[in-house]
Symmetry: C2
Subunit: 357 residues, 2 copies
């Protein structure tokens, strides 16, 4: 196992939040080698591609990628293949990062920043397991063509292919069941099996895999109902497993329930525990460079990196405990600030975490 | 224009809620001819199909369908083509009901039943315009096959086709822009154009159609972000237009924000204002036959029917005003009941609306 970490800050607030995570890692004096490279809009500006070959090569040979965020309005008019977010899709696909783990946790100290009533969300702790390299994200054929059947023959149409192969569903199912075993042993698989063939196929495989995990209670929910139940009674959920497209939607909805998306990390893993770690929030170009961004999601992503890619549970917990402590001490960046707490900037929040380690 | 209304109560609470809507219509002494037929699980039990030919024929020759709800756990194990919800899909497809209008409105009297903080949702009034006969719901090819390309060649895979034809997007765009013109003149088109070809195609057409509506402000949002913004700041939305799949998810999420999905009607229209009207909620088999269900969503669906299919705005507003009045008077079914209000059953709520007319 290599000790190499590719550090890819990206655009917007990426640079400043990743800087704090790197400082936290340094403070732990671990045997890690960090190497930085450009990605996203910045890489496009410099090298004409959001995921230049040297960046991809670095990521491939690293055990982990610590990722900031990509994107800025100024790239919105580029052809799709040059847009910043293609870097994320390219990294996922090239590294085979099929398992995306996204916790939606409400820190007790932040219960009142949610738009939901405190009694509905206090204690919230959901883990969303999103399949990340299949589904309609990558399915072919796709494009624009002239319709040759249906009600609109002769018309121009846009089209995409949703697809899931059996082994693809099986491997994410195992990840999800094993995650549930370590938690409340409840797994909810979300699909649209009343309409989609892909979903019915997905559901049948989930049921089959569940036979290997008799200690986990598997339930199924349609995506529309899941989007509702997350608002109605989010604490009913423990682990949720779903495909790439539905996972994109649900994990964002779930993280917003906490009101503190600036706190939420994510991990994207392949079969050899190589992983990409990034905050759940975006590049927030409007506040970039102003020392306003919350670095905690990125710092917590670094903790996930130590846990999953380097098997260093102790260091991971050290970071997580330090984050808990700074919240306890009342430090807040502006996104989670309320009267009576101490407003700090990005780097001061990094200082506070390091002091708390 | 025929004056025929097909009344299809369906399963679960369908019978009792539709009964109240029919009573309300009768009280208005309109020149309507109502004819009842079976649909859903009940129709499957009786005729071996959730949408029997005589029911479909009745719907086709009617100007409007007043629909209750379909579905019950006991049909969950049937092959998909016999499941109750196929009746809804069949009616939409056969009648060409491409425009689904789903208001998510928070009645001031019910502000506290939402799981969101009152200041976040009070005054909420969103109209979701969902395309209802295209997209991955009906796109072909679809099924199960052996993968012949990609990483999983030789593996079994489930697959579906997402597709939108240009004229299909144009016609729903016009509906949405015209709806926005009658409201706050803000239209948000939701897609996943950073990933899907269908979405980029959709977005380009929305932009093109917007040139005909210079008074409406068109914005675009990715579906994952929309699912978040609905939780973060739902009152930012006025009219939302989106495809069938994303609309399924967003309209349910939006309606749950109000905490009173038992209050929300919906209309599904074709190009000749033939329409299907149904409550936004489901068949709730657990409370069926107990005089507990809230009939107001169905009664308000009947109001939408008078407005859109029969052009009777006055009668529509009469019903809507009556519903406002019964809420003002404090009448509540159990789903929206809070201490200090008057708990009533399904039929008593119908009585109250009729008295208020
Ligand atoms: C940027 C985009 C392609 C990406 C996705 O849809 O997966 C993002 O929304 C995410 O969830 O990481
Ligand atoms: C029952 C189901 C097929 C249907 C849909 O997905 O459209 C329902 O969820 C709805 O929104 O009316």
């Amino acid at each position: 196992m290599s000790n190499l970490v590719a550090v890819l800050p990206g655009d917007g607030i990426g640079e400043e939040i990743v800087e704090q995570a790197v400082r936290v890692l340094a403070a732990l004096k671990l045997d890690l080698e960090l190497e930085k490279a450009d990605v996203g809009g910045r890489a496009y500006d410099l090298y004409g591609h959001p995921l230049p070959k040297h960046t991809l090569d670095l990521a491939k040979k690293s055990q982990a990628v610590l990722f900031g965020a990509v994107g800025d309005w100024k790239y919105d008019t580029l052809p799709r293949e040059f847009r910043p977010e293609q870097a994320i899709l390219g990294l996922r696909k090239n590294l085979g990062l099929f398992a995306n783990l996204r916790p939606a946790v409400l820190y007790p100290q932040l219960a009142d920043v949610s738009t939901l009533k405190p009694e509905v969300v206090s204690g919230l702790n959901i883990l969303i397991v999103r399949e990340l390299t299949g589904d309609i994200y990558f399915g072919t054929p796709r494009g624009i063509r002239i319709a040759t059947d249906g009600l609109f023959v002769g018309d121009k149409e846009g089209y995409d292919t949703m697809r899931y192969a059996e082994s693809e569903v099986r491997r994410i199912a195992h990840i999800a069941f094993q995650a549930a075993q370590k938690r409340q042993k409840k797994l909810c698989s979300v699909d649209k099996a009343n309409v989609l063939e892909t979903s019915q196929f997905w559901r049948d495989i989930m049921i089959d895999v569940s036979k290997e995990y008799p200690d986990v209670a598997l339930t199924h929910m349609y995506i529309d109902n899941a989007a509702m139940q997350l608002v109605r009674a989010p604490k009913e959920f423990d682990v949720v497993v779903t495909g790439n497209l539905f996972g994109d939607i649900l994990s964002d909805e779930a993280s917003m329930l906490t009101g503190s998306i600036g706190m939420l990390p994510s991990a994207s893993l392949n079969a050899t525990n190589q992983g990409l770690y990034e905050p759940s929030h975006g590049s927030a170009p409007d506040i970039a460079g102003k020392n306003l961004a919350n670095p905690l999601a990125t710092i917590l992503s670094a903790a996930m990196m130590l846990r999953y890619s380097f098997g260093n549970e102790i260091a991971a917990q050290q970071i997580e405990a330090a984050v808990g402590k700074v919240l306890e001490q009342g430090y807040r960046t502006v996104d989670i600030y309320k009267e009576g707490t101490i407003k700090v900037g990005t780097s001061q929040m990094g200082d506070a975490v390091i002091a708390a380690l």
